[in-house]
């Protein structure tokens, strides 16, 4: 288990750093709730808005 764990850790961390270095970032970290019209932690719209 220890070896599997170490391999998963190294691959996941390398992928994470690579993803960060190749993706836009900067400014304050955001949550989907920060956006206008978000009605849930995932950014889903409110039912009253969906009905319109």
């Amino acid at each position: 288990m220890r070896l599997v764990y170490a391999i998963v850790f190294v691959i996941a961390f390398t992928a994470l750093v690579a993803e960060h270095l190749t993706s836009p970032s900067g400014g304050r970290p955001v949550s989907p709730e920060d956006f206008v019209g978000a009605c849930a932690p995932c950014g889903a719209p409110c039912p009253s808005v969906q009905k319109k």
């Binding site: 993803e19 304050r28 889903a44």
Partner: protein
């Protein structure tokens, strides 16, 4: 087997510190902090550090929503459940008034409808099969459990599938979020939230007394509840929203799917402003991903600082199957139910949002079914 029962162990003591994993976890945290600070994101660095602290506290306090709910259902033992309510009461003290009074801050809100109820119910089944909820999966996977790495992988997959199904469930109807502070003001909303927690605590105590079991939380549970409650407030201060876990999993899964050629950008969920931005930007720009990653490294550091890391043998195949099925159900359920115990229940109730209690009432029967299913996978009902 205890050390006292094996004299040979005392002759050749096992190392207490697992240096490779302790150094790796701390180094990983430092590298991520450096990366976000280079981008000028001090709040992101704070969220990583707070996640690290949460991982260490959860592991050391062995704070488990899954086990405490199971103890309440099976034995009527309310100690862990009461600890969870204490945690929420502490977090609510800051979240309800600040979300109502300070511009830029917001509580965890969500619509109340079929999506929330079905999602929470399915999540409840999954958390008992997996033997851990969202936070539990993070800290046990980070703490060296290979079984929970499998749960995490399937949790991620399930949450991406859930993201594709959520819009259709939302079209089945529902009502807009109901927030206590909108009806009673910031302080009246806090009083209403605390009153609802007191009612839940009285029900828990009544169940325990009827079954003749303990209602006194252990010092470990009390410490965990207070520490995690205060850390919830700190996460809220840094991220401007209550702590959430599972949106990060959805983003990770979507990015992995994109890497393998799937185009999710046309799916309705991924066209909403928040998910769209998260899919395009770095993972380290998403608040829930930051605390999730910190939590994994924190649990790893805490585990490696006290015992040899990840030395347990793999569990039986049936148990691994339960981990996979449970993870998949939790992922799907969390996306439809607007989060897990952390984002939906703790975050929702601590924000004074009614959906938190609806989530709890829907997840509880799911847990009962999950507990009944556990023996099929070779797991005990307790």
């Amino acid at each position: 087997m205890s050390v006292a029962a094996t004299p040979s162990v005392t002759a050749v003591p096992a190392p207490r510190l697992d240096w490779p994993f302790l150094i790796a976890s701390c180094l990983a945290l430092v590298v991520l902090i450096a990366l976000v600070l280079l981008d000028g994101q001090p709040a992101a660095a704070a969220l990583l550090i707070l996640g690290f602290a949460l991982g260490a506290v959860f592991l050391k306090a062995e704070f488990s929503f899954t086990a405490s709910w199971r103890r309440l259902i099976v034995r009527g033992q309310a100690d862990g459940f009461l600890g969870g309510l204490l945690l929420i009461a502490i977090a609510a003290a800051a979240i309800v008034p600040v979300a109502a009074l300070v511009p830029g801050f917001g509580g965890a809100i969500a619509p109340i409808g079929p999506s929330l109820i079905v999602g929470a119910f399915v999540f409840g089944i999954g958390m008992q099969l997996a033997n851990g909820c969202g936070s539990g999966t993070l800290y046990t996977a980070g703490g060296g459990s290979g079984r929970m790495i499998i749960t995490l992988a399937f949790f991620i997959a399930g949450s991406v599938i859930g993201s594709l199904h959520l819009p259709a469930f939302l079209r089945r109807g529902g009502i807009d979020p109901i927030l206590a502070s909108n009806y009673f003001g910031p302080w009246g909303g806090l009083a209403a939230t605390w009153a609802s927690l007191a009612v839940a605590a009285l029900i828990g105590i009544a169940i325990a007394k009827r079954r003749g079991v303990s209602i006194t939380p252990s010092p470990k549970i009390v410490f965990g509840a207070i520490a995690i409650g205060l850390l919830c407030i700190a996460v809220f201060a840094a991220g401007h929203h209550p702590w959430s876990v599972t949106f990060g999993f959805t983003v990770w899964g979507a990015k992995i799917a994109t890497l393998f050629g799937a185009d999710l950008s046309h799916a309705e969920f991924w066209q909403w402003a928040g998910p769209k931005r998260a899919l395009g930007d770095s993972i380290l720009s998403d608040t829930s991903s930051l605390t999730d990653l910190g939590m994994i490294f924190g649990a790893m550091a805490a585990a490696a600082a006290s015992a040899p890391f990840a030395r347990n043998p793999w569990p039986p195949l049936k148990s691994l199957l339960a981990a996979a099925v449970g993870g998949l159900l939790m992922g799907w359920g969390a996306r439809l139910g607007f989060g897990c115990n952390i984002g939906a229940f703790i975050g929702g109730v601590a924000s004074g949002s009614l959906h938190g209690w609806v989530w709890f009432l829907a997840a509880l029967p799911g847990c009962m079914i999950g507990i009944k299913l556990r023996p099929l996978f070779g797991l005990s009902r307790e």
